[in-house]
Amino acid sequence: MNKQITLAMGNGGEENNELISKIFYKAFKNDILEKSEDAAVIHDGELAFSTDSFTVSPLFFPGGDIGKLAICGTCNDLAMMGAKPKYLTCSVIIEEGFSIRELEKIVRSMKKELESNGAIVVSGDTKVVPRGSVDKIFINTTGIGEIQKKGISSNSISKDDVILVSRDLGRHGATIFAAREGIELSSSLESDCASLTYQVQALIEVGVKITALRDATRGGVSAVLNEWAKQSNICIEVEEDSIPVSEEVYGICEILGFEAVNLANEGTFVLAIKKEDEQKALNILQTFENSSNAVKIADVSDEYIGKVILLSSYGTKRFLDTPTGELLPRIC
């Protein structure tokens, strides 16, 4: 590993995993942490517990802002363990000179998102630091949720499962790239930033047999599938043509040399569910606006254990890897 922290170590991919395992897991080692789930399951499987810090540039982007992101992010991590978010903490670090109006705007969208999750903020902290010490504002939220369905885990996916995604991929990552300085793209693209609590509750209520859930944030769907393949000792075979990607996201990927499966999402999740419940799950998901184009993308096999394979419609296949490095536009 490098002697200095590089941006690549925060990419949600390989370098990020290395940093976490060699520094943090090594020091904090315990059984709960080592399950490596979106949220820790504690208190005899009754509660889910998770934390996340948020920094995004620009702070306000089409489809959301850092406030909405901070609530969705933690609530979604809880939802992915089959939990209903209840209590959150909110801690902010603000740069000297930051506009109070913008802060109010951010907090308002946090409030709105909390309401739609049925959760409340019960504790918080505020720090203001000299100009240049942080980039405008960093937000941390930590949340506790009540588990509605026990036993959801990314360590137990098997050949009896199919893999679905809740909607088209890569919207958040592509929106942020397009909104950044230096690339003049006009597009109608919006981030997928949204809470997933109600979709998950609805799936649990009708009794869909859920094996695992994960929201595909940094590192995108390919990071999720690769983690699952390793954690559950399986091979995941993805039909390339079935991966839903919008025109706009596809276009941005073409220009910058990215793949939509590697881009971040903030309101898109991957599901491993029992084969017989595929249609049932899709029917439920498709009743929600945010997941109206939910679709099956992959099957589970044992052909290459621990790997994800992409199958093309003209009969070729390749490995779909965990993204590495910082996401950088290719030169040619």
Partner: protein
């Protein structure tokens, strides 16, 4: 999606991006070409090795898994055409040293910042506090310069013939507007000279002139600038057919079929598959800009291949004031740094060895810690073997 390109304030017409690639990824067409190639390949007088010179083609071939569609008597040798991979440590060290200077911003394109030199990569320099920025277009450098008048902006220019005109366009504006704080470190390289080197050079490991390249796939975007004329000598003087091809899977498959047919029909020619933009003469205005500001350097060192005559550009002497290599000559080292002794990238690029025959492949040399050019980016042969391993043909 709609793209609006803006060039110097003039809004150009809007087009659907989809219009550009639709059809060129059609599964039925790809399968159709695969069948035709299989049929034609049965008649081949001997197995053939095609070198795709350009990393962009390697990327397409890997991404779309095209090798799996080809019969066993057609092989690919992945060429040295990735400007990032071939950048020698010496020149990355230059960038690193310049980036570390006080009140200096080092600007370069995309994935150049991740390639390690002997001191580390530009990403490492940035982590240590250097101001390193990547841009999408060389002209973005102007904005950085305007916003940082008290700083020196050094543009670390890289790329083949495709990106060279963009650099010269920036130079043109810098000189005409008398922008005082932009300097250039030029690392532009050219395709035909390295192709000659691969055919002609003596392989030090086996002490012979061996190579196994039977035909070349030429990159279309290079020829959009240079025209197809740069390849004329290969069929004539070196007896190697060249087909200039686009980067979509249908383009690559069609080009392979064209090459196979040349062998079957006993022809050895320069052909253009990418007729939608490539002409014989190319973009004359771009060529004039290059000619105006650049001259050929007598030698340019390629990572993995060593010094290749006349294969790189440098600024003409009258532009010494903006040439970072001259302005900073006293702090930029010029000692050669040897490639790793066990690295066999040279053999791999000549088609004489496969990546897994290298003793340091996957052990000392990995994508995260590359030693040779073929491991540096996803476009290199070793990186592809490492990543896709048992799924490759």
């Amino acid at each position: 999606m709609m793209i609006t390109a803006t060039i110097e304030g003039h809004k150009m017409s809007e087009l659907q991006l989809k219009d550009l690639y639709d059809g060129f990824r059609n599964p039925e067409v790809i399968k159709g070409f695969a069948k035709l190639i299989e049929k034609e390949a049965k008649k081949l007088p001997h197995p053939i090795n095609i070198m795709e010179v350009c990393g962009g083609h390697t990327h397409s071939i890997m991404k779309f898994g095209l090798l799996q569609l080809l019969p066993n008597n057609i092989n690919f040798i992945h060429g040295p055409g990735c400007p990032v991979c071939i950048m020698p440590k010496e020149r990355i060290d230059h960038a690193y040293i310049l980036a570390e200077l006080e009140d200096t911003i080092l600007v370069t394109l995309g994935d150049m910042i991740k390639v390690p030199g002997s001191r580390g990569s530009l990403q490492d320099a940035r982590a240590k506090g250097a101001d390193v920025r990547f841009i999408y277009s060389p002209l973005d450098t102007l904005k950085i310069a305007e916003e940082n008048l008290e700083k020196k902006i050094i543009f670390f220019a890289i790329g083949f013939e495709t990106t060279t005109p963009m650099t010269t366009a920036l130079i043109d504006i810098v000189l005409k507007r008398q922008v005082k704080n932009i300097f250039f470190h030029i690392n532009h390289v050219t395709v035909p000279e390295v192709m000659v080197e691969l055919i002609d050079s003596r392989d030090e490991h086996v002490d012979s002139y061996n190579n196994r390249i039977d035909a070349f796939l030429g990159p279309s975007h290079v020829s959009v600038i240079t025209g197809s004329k740069i390849y004329e000598k290969f069929p004539k003087e070196y007896n190697r057919p060249v087909v200039v091809a686009g980067f979509e899977p249908v383009d690559v498959m069609e080009a392979i079929l064209m090459i196979v047919k040349q062998f079957n029909e006993g022809r050895c020619e320069l052909e253009i598959e990418y007729k939608r933009l490539v002409t014989h003469d190319g973009n004359l205005k771009a060529q004039a800009l290059i000619e105006n500001y650049f001259e050929k350097a007598s030698l340019f060192k390629w990572r993995g291949l060593g010094n290749v005559p006349e294969s790189g550009y440098k600024l003409r002497p009258q532009f010494a004031d903006i040439d970072a290599e001259r302005v900073y000559a006293d702090i930029l080292p010029c000692e050669e740094i040897e490639d790793h002794k066990l690295c066999i990238c040279g053999d791999i690029l000549r088609g004489m060895a496969k990546p897994d025959e290298c003793t340091i492949f996957g052990t000392a040399c990995k994508p995260q810690t590359p030693l040779g050019s073929c491991m540096v980016s996803s476009e290199g042969a070793c990186a592809a073997y490492y990543k896709y391993g048992n799924l490759l043909k």
